[in-house]
Symmetry: C2
Subunit: 194 residues, 2 copies
């Protein structure tokens, strides 16, 4: 069971109807979120907006939280891709990632909804982890340290910090915050080499 669109560029062909349905559901939810709170949106409303049947929804997602999560992951992946953030150009990349998370959060919560809730962790953090994963592959050589663990820990730290920043009343600029996050998180990766 494939779980997200627009990954795996050369993967095996996927039925275009599946892509279409998922895309329309995401667009429908995105559109509705401009008008009302996530909690106040029913599956029926989503499929109406998407001009799909309600049963089709459940063919793709177990519930509306899963759709929100998939949509968030897709959008954030998109933002990362647009900025060309791979960890291959290694320095400054950490700050760029942090800035991406801050920007994304600020952007999607500038809407009427205060989306700084839970379902986002499950979608943004894994994307950040993947970026670190790719970066680790391009890195010199992992002696004995668990690169994946470092990536996970850093991803959570970044998200937690960005989330706190977002819900701070008189917050500083995203760029400033990204610099702070970089300072805090960078040593995590250095901790491996004592």
């Amino acid at each position: 069971m494939p779980e997200s669109l627009q990954s795996e560029p050369t993967a095996e062909a996927v039925d275009p109807r599946i892509l279409r349905s998922r895309r329309m559901l995401m667009e429908a939810l995105g559109s509705l979120l401009n008008r009302k709170e996530f909690e106040d949106i029913s599956v029926q409303e989503i499929v109406d907006e998407a001009t799909l049947n309600r049963a089709t929804f459940y063919l793709h997602y177990p519930d509306k939280n899963a759709l929100l999560q998939a949509m968030t992951a897709a959008r954030f992946r998109d933002l990362i891709a647009r900025r060309g953030l791979s960890f291959t150009d290694c320095d400054g990349a950490l700050r760029a990632i942090a800035l991406g998370v801050c920007d994304y959060l600020a952007e999607t919560t500038g809407c009427p909804s205060q989306l700084a809730k839970m379902p986002l962790e499950g979608s943004i953090i894994p994307v950040v982890e993947v970026v670190f994963q790719e970066g680790a592959a391009h890195h010199p050589a992992p002696p004995d340290v668990d690169q994946a663990l470092l990536g996970t820990t850093a991803a959570w730290a970044i998200f937690g910090a960005a989330r706190r920043w977002l819900q701070t009343p008189g917050r500083v600029s995203a760029e400033e915050m990204a610099a702070k996050i970089e300072e805090m998180v960078k040593p995590i990766f250095l901790s491996a080499s004592h």
Copy 2:
């Protein structure tokens, strides 16, 4: 609207019926979680187990997720309190916190349910933050660094690392993991002093 029991030792008196209802609801949920998945438990089942009316449930929690969160926070707070973990005895405390999180996760997910899901972030992380907060108060002096931000970032990092450890197949001991976490997270606090 008070949100949790067993805090504020000398606070204004709370109606004993409120404490009783919330305690019974938490115990009921805890008991049911030994038998079935959280998703498969309805509010009706919870109040049946607690011998309370369903309307009473909604008098205290907006939904069952809120109850799970409150229960988790209470249990984790309890574990922290039992171990006497305040950050006042500053060194080694970070590892002790990490160990507490690992132990708690391993303990509550040893049950049939794989509770390493989302609602836990919302309950464990804040508790860890509070511990850091108290520790910061007993600390020398915050020059210009945002102690709260450091605490939040560290709390998320700890939880993320512990969570990953938990769902690792051939995982190392909790003590070993706590040591690793300490190593990774400690520099976060030192990052402030360049």
